[in-house]
């Protein structure tokens, strides 16, 4: 799948394209197919986000999983601060991002 991600312009939060808008949760990311670039540009012009880019990923039982470790960490949060991640109770986070 193709996933569109960016940062919220005002807050800087990592966001994912969820079909009808942006979500802070990777699990809500949808497959943007070949529309990612177009949506990203449109949303940047609308001043909702910055730094939009499209990544490869796959759909797993656990939700969308970005192909590259950098984006998995973006989706999760810093692995060295489990309390600040989206899976604070998940145990060994390093395993999920690797």
């Amino acid at each position: 799948m193709k996933i569109l991600t960016a940062n919220d312009l005002t807050t800087g939060d990592v966001v994912w394209w969820a079909g009808d808008g942006w979500s802070r949760l990777l699990i809500e990311a949808i497959d943007v197919a070949d529309k990612g670039e177009e949506i990203g540009q449109r949303e940047e012009i609308a001043r909702r986000i910055i730094g939009a880019y499209v990544i490869d990923g796959e759909m797993t039982d656990d939700g969308p999983r970005p192909a590259h470790i950098k984006d998995r960490i973006r989706g999760l949060g810093p692995t060295v601060r489990p309390d600040l991640t989206s899976k604070p109770e998940a145990g060994d986070l390093a395993k999920w991002v690797i």
Binding site: L9, T10, V14, K70, V80
Partner: protein
């Protein structure tokens, strides 16, 4: 320490309002992101992996208790309750909202602080020796010179769109505690015939093409310093490469021209610029220097320290350094608890350090390039009480300059440029050596980890350096040996093929085991490496 006068305060206040206006124009759509990016960068605001990150300047690493407390306040109010002290004596906040940034700058300005030029292709925060003013081996106090340069470089109209960033360090001791020769310009204050002047080095740096700065001038007096540095910058601004950002630092220009030709061009420019009245009068350096005069030390203090508590005695031996004044000591607070995140401190810890500075260190702290904090004016009689409070707050780690006192960049856990995580590697190495107890036996060993080739973690300058790279989508770690950022400055050499995360921890243990086995009397790891060369270490790793 330095205090702003009305002029300095007006400058930072105006900057806050300027940035407030810029943020407003950005959010209104009058500035595109492309136009806004350098403006926010010159106010320290990056877009990082998870959020905006704000880098706050700590000029030459010096802070008052009040300023430190403000750093804690910002961590709590605008961030997620912590900050990260960096290898350039700054502090970074990882979770900042763009809309809050102007208010944060205003809060900083209220305590004479700012984030001006902590990023961007301009002259960055001037760094210095964390023991400035209290070390016994100084030719002069480097801080007044650093402050003079801070003011000169702030809002410099000619040098705000340089080919690349520009870092200056000022030291005044033969012992280099600031990695001076790994800066774009390094200044060492020296005394000649009783006169203090600057020995100038140019073209040092780390990154993907590390270089040790060669000397370009053996002596510049205070009367000519600004014109001389302007000349160095002008030659760089005009002729530094702009076609390739990886070749744009001054080190490449100096290297490509050759140091003699660069020096010749600087001297020619200097001969001209020195006639333009660019140099402040001596009264200005003297004015600044009054703020750095020695405090009213108490006399007749005892040098005796009760070493009954063995944990305290260990901390004393490792983290406390001789002061130039009898009865006083320099206390290092390690931000490297075993298994912790190097350089991170919680809002509560930051505020506690502010309190401790006020109570025990004449209201002053220093940030070190090794990501630790220094209390520079502690009475020896107060050390035990100080240590007890530090220890209770998780700040009493007795590991200064040991293998567990690791410099690490934020790495892929926070940084959008990183290829691999740095912090987990630091945590695993520190835990390994604390658990097996070899840390104490090994003694001084400077281990430095970067999560990418940009080298924010100073891996080139580590006795042992680790560089995280991306190998087909997985994290891989190269090992370097033999670097030093100190007065015996040298660049580390890569041992060979890289390792995975656990493999790099084993590799560090293998090379230190070889050292323990082969060392001669008094040799540090670095000395043994230099004596033996790479071959036996390679054999231990790959043989």
């Amino acid at each position: 320490m330095y205090q702003y006068d009305n002029y300095d305060q007006a400058m930072v206040d105006a900057r806050v309002e300027e940035f407030r206006d810029q943020v407003k124009r950005r959010l209104e759509g009058k500035l595109t992101e492309e136009q806004f990016r350098p403006l926010r960068l010159m106010n320290g605001l990056y877009l990082q992996l998870h959020a905006y990150m704000l880098r706050v300047a700590v000029p030459y690493g010096t802070l008052s208790g009040k300023q430190m407390r403000m750093l804690g306040h910002i961590a709590r109010k605008y961030d997620k309750g912590y900050g990260h002290f960096t290898t350039r004596q700054n502090i970074q906040y990882n979770w900042i909202k763009l809309s809050d940034a102007p208010d944060i700058l205003a809060d900083l300005a209220s305590v004479e602080m700012h984030a001006i030029q902590t990023s961007g292709n301009c002259i960055r925060n001037i760094s210095s020796d964390q023991y400035a003013g209290v070390a016994a081996d100084e030719a002069a106090d480097p801080r007044p010179w650093a402050e003079l340069l801070r003011q000169w470089s702030s809002f410099h109209p000619e040098f705000s769109y340089l080919p690349r960033k520009f870092k200056i360090a000022v030291i005044a001791s033969e012992e280099d505690r600031a990695a001076m020769r790994l800066h774009d310009i390094g200044i060492e204050l020296v005394k000649r015939d009783g006169v203090v002047g600057a020995k100038v080095f140019a073209g040092g740096g780390m990154g993907r093409t590390p270089m040790v700065a060669p000397e370009i001038r053996d002596f510049v007096t205070e009367d000519e310093l600004i014109a001389y540095v302007e000349a160095c910058l002008r030659v760089y601004n005009r002729y530094g490469r702009r076609d390739n950002k990886y070749k744009a630092r001054i080190k490449i220009l100096v290297h490509e021209l050759g140091v003699d030709e660069y020096r010749r061009q600087v001297e020619e420019e200097f001969a001209h610029m020195n006639t333009l009245g660019l140099n402040p009068p001596r009264e200005e350096l003297a004015r600044i220097a009054t703020y750095f005069a020695d405090p009213a030390y108490e006399s007749g203090l005892s040098d005796e320290i009760d070493r009954t508590d063995p944990d305290f005695a260990l901390w004393l031996d490792r983290n406390v350094v001789a002061h130039k004044q009898a009865g006083y000591a320099i206390a290092n607070i390690s931000l490297k608890p075993i298994g912790g995140i190097p350089g991170d401190a919680s809002a509560e810890q930051i505020e506690l350090m502010a309190d401790l500075a006020e109570r025990y260190s004449l209201d002053e702290l220093r940030v070190t390039h090794a990501q630790n904090i220094v209390l520079p004016y502690v009475k020896k009689a107060d050390l035990y009480a100080l240590w007890q409070e530090l220890n209770e707050a998780g700040l009493g780690e007795a590991n200064l300059d040991l293998v567990t006192d690791i410099i690490a960049c934020p790495g892929l856990d926070y940084c959008s440029l990183a290829n691999a995580r740095s912090i987990p590697v630091a945590q695993k190495i520190a835990s390994r050596f604390a658990d097996n107890g070899k840390d104490a036996d090994i003694g001084e060993l400077k281990l430095k980890i970067s999560g990418c080739i940009n080298a924010c973690g100073h891996h080139h300058a580590g006795h042992i350096g680790i560089l995280g790279v991306d190998r087909k989508g997985t994290e891989n770690y190269q090992l370097l040996l033999g670097g030093s950022g100190a007065e015996d400055c040298s660049l580390g050499t890569i041992t060979g093929p890289g390792f995975d995360e656990n493999g790099i921890v084993d590799a560090v243990e293998k090379v230190t085991d070889l050292y323990l086995d082969q060392r001669q009397d008094g040799e540090r790891f670095l000395d043994t490496y230099r004596r033996l060369g790479m071959a036996p270490f390679k054999e231990a790793l790959y043989g």
